[in-house]
């Protein structure tokens, strides 16, 4: 019963469900002997799933992920991070220079530059959705690394960007950038990250995959109830922060890490349910931009047999 699997993760709060499931023994309960593999970026993690070096992971939907699915290497099996009305989600930022020059609302972004890591990244998607909704033109600047984008924002070399709250809030707090809107307004029910695995695991290792999702869902439930619904009160939050701090911001002292961890709180899809309408929307956008092949269908990307398919 004790199957050894590898789960890929980034050191972000959005991966907390995996950390919780491991720390609280949910994986072990499901008969899974889990080893976490940490990555510096999402893209190599996706490739590692394709090559079979890692079994399960969570990441945003990107052009690379869709391409790998198209090559028959990976499948999306469930949802994770999700935008939800009422909870602080991803923020739209303006650089101080642009803000002072009057950029105080996303509607005024016409002709401005918008920072993305790479074309075909989730930042690119969010930016285009804003542009489409507002009927404006945005210039996208690919800067590869989040650090480079922060540098460019602070020095006013790009005008706007969108990013998760735990990075957005401290930046805005320092006065170097300003929050001018939220992504929720433009992309409701945005399924930001998804759980995925290799096509092999999805088709041939059904029970293992189901077990993974079960344990993963328990992690999600704990996280949501403690951090969002405050079921355990502040003591519960403290305990959870302690747990997450083992994996995130490890080289900062606890008291400095805690605000960042709490700031980063966003709803994870309960039961790892997947919002397929959002996924379809993203897929169509990638296709319309010519970043991935026209012929890819939702079925190529998603294995719908594991979790609830919202909006199908």
């Amino acid at each position: 019963q004790n199957r050894s699997i590898k789960v890929g993760a980034l050191r972000f709060t959005s991966h907390s469900a995996s950390f919780i499931a491991l720390e609280r023994g949910y994986f072990a309960d499901a008969g899974l002997n889990v080893e976490l593999e940490f990555f510096q970026a999402a893209q190599p993690m996706a490739v590692a799933i394709a090559s079979g070096d890692v079994d399960y992971a969570v990441t945003a939907i990107s052009g690379g992920l869709i391409s790998l699915a198209d090559k028959g290497a990976i499948k999306v099996i469930g949802g994770a991070l999700k935008e939800e009305a009422g909870i602080d989600g991803q923020q739209i930022l303006a650089s101080d220079a642009a803000f002072q020059a009057g950029l105080t609302d996303p509607a005024m972004l016409d002709g401005k530059t918008f920072a993305v890591t790479q074309s075909g990244s989730s930042f690119h998607y969010m930016g285009s959705q804003i542009a489409m909704a507002e009927g404006i033109d945005l210039t996208f600047k690919p800067l590869q690394k989040v650090g480079a984008i922060i540098g460019a924002m602070r020095s006013g070399q790009v005008d706007a960007w969108s990013i998760v709250p735990h990075i957005a809030k401290p930046l805005a707090g320092s006065g170097a950038v300003h929050i001018i809107g939220t992504i929720q307004e433009y992309i409701p029910n945005y399924q930001i990250t998804t759980a995925f695995t290799s096509a092999n695991n999805a088709s041939d290792e059904r029970s293992q995959t189901e077990d993974f999702l079960t344990a993963f869902s328990k992690g999600i439930d704990d996280y949501n109830s403690t951090m969002i619904d405050m079921a355990g009160g502040d003591a519960g939050v403290d305990e959870m922060v302690d747990l997450i701090h083992k994996y995130v911001y490890t080289d900062r002292p606890r008291d400095k890490a805690a605000p960042s961890i709490i700031n980063g709180t966003m709803r994870l899809s309960p039961k790892a349910a997947l919002d397929v309408s959002s996924v379809q929307n993203q897929l169509s956008w990638f296709q319309s931009e010519g970043l991935v092949d026209e012929s890819i269908t939702l079925d190529t990307l998603v294995d719908s047999s594991y979790v609830e398919q919202i909006g199908a």
């Binding site: 893209q43 996706a46 490739v47 394709a50 090559s51 990107s62 052009g63 690379g64 391409s67 790998l68 090559k71 290497a73 790479q118 074309s119 075909g120 990244s121 600047k141 690919p142 800067l143 590869q144 690394k145 650090g147 480079a148 922060i150 540098g151 460019a152 602070r154 020095s155 070399q157 790009v158 970043l291 991935v292």
Partner: protein
């Protein structure tokens, strides 16, 4: 006196034991190796023996290349890249040669700069990407700066090595004829260091090409590096390899043109 050999007893030819240790290149072999490797890759990917995750089909890469050319995108990407390569390398190489010559000539500059250059050399340029954004912006400036920075250190090292190797007797000769310091530098030191500087240039320019990708991480829309990065992030192996082949060809061309310059400029060499 071949008759002696017929007559004398015990007469036998001296055994040959020389030869070897002088490999002479044969052009067609190199060509054949490329063709063979490509055919092997084609065969492997076609039969599925090499998975399509591992390597793209060479014929697909060719098709991609063809469409890149037909759509005119090739030159849209190549243009900015060549510009960056040229400007970046120009800045880096000229700064490198100047500093290298100064290091080669002056005790204090040498003492101050050599350890500095040694400390700068192993710093990975990609680690400093966020800083380049602040220092030089996200326009062409930072791209030039990154390539210049990368070519600077190897050029300095090659140049001061070359200056050190200039035959001191030639310099003493210049002094013994009462040539001015400036004359000696211009007419003896610089031409004498030229072979070393040019061969250093081979390495510097290869590094410049390598850094093109890093440079175009910084907000480049067009450029071979940007093209490769996008292909990589989309895991589009056909385009990735098309881009890599372009860089590779670029590298071989640059090296060949340095060879030409060497042949022209250094025909005085023995």
């Amino acid at each position: 006196m071949s008759d002696i050999s017929a007559v004398s007893p015990g007469l036998r030819p001296v055994t040959y034991r020389g030869g070897g240790f002088v490999p002479s290149p044969r052009r067609w072999v190199g060509f054949m190796v490329f063709v063979l490797l490509i055919l092997l890759a084609e065969w492997g990917t076609r039969t599925g023996w090499i998975s399509q995750l591992t390597l793209p089909k060479p014929s697909d890469v060719l098709v991609t290349f063809q469409s890149l050319y037909d759509s005119g995108l090739l030159f849209k990407h190549l243009g900015p890249s060549l510009g960056r390569l040229f400007m970046g390398a120009l800045i880096g190489v000229s700064a490198g040669v100047s500093v290298g010559v100064l290091i080669g000539l002056f005790t204090y500059i040498r003492s101050g700069m050599v350890p500095l250059v040694a400390a700068i050399f192993p710093i990975p340029k990609i680690a400093l990407l966020p800083l380049f954004v602040i220092w030089f912006g996200i326009g062409e400036g930072s791209k030039y700066a990154l390539i210049a920075f990368g070519t600077f250190t190897p050029t300095v090292v090659a140049t001061y090595g070359a200056v050190d190797n200039v035959d001191r007797t030639l310099i003493r000769m210049g002094q013994s004829f009462g040539l001015t310091w400036f004359s000696i530098v211009r007419k003896i030191v610089l031409p004498g260091a030229m072979p070393g500087i040019l061969s250093g240039l081979r390495i510097s320019l290869a590094i410049a090409i390598i850094l093109l990708v890093a440079a175009e991480m910084l907000g480049a829309e067009y450029g071979i590096g940007a093209y490769i990065l996008e292909a990589g992030s989309l895991y589009d192996l056909d385009r990735l390899f098309a881009g890599v082949v372009i860089l590779s060809v670029l590298g071989v061309l640059v090296s060949a043109s340095i060879g030409l310059v060497e042949n022209r400029l250094l025909k005085w060499r023995v």
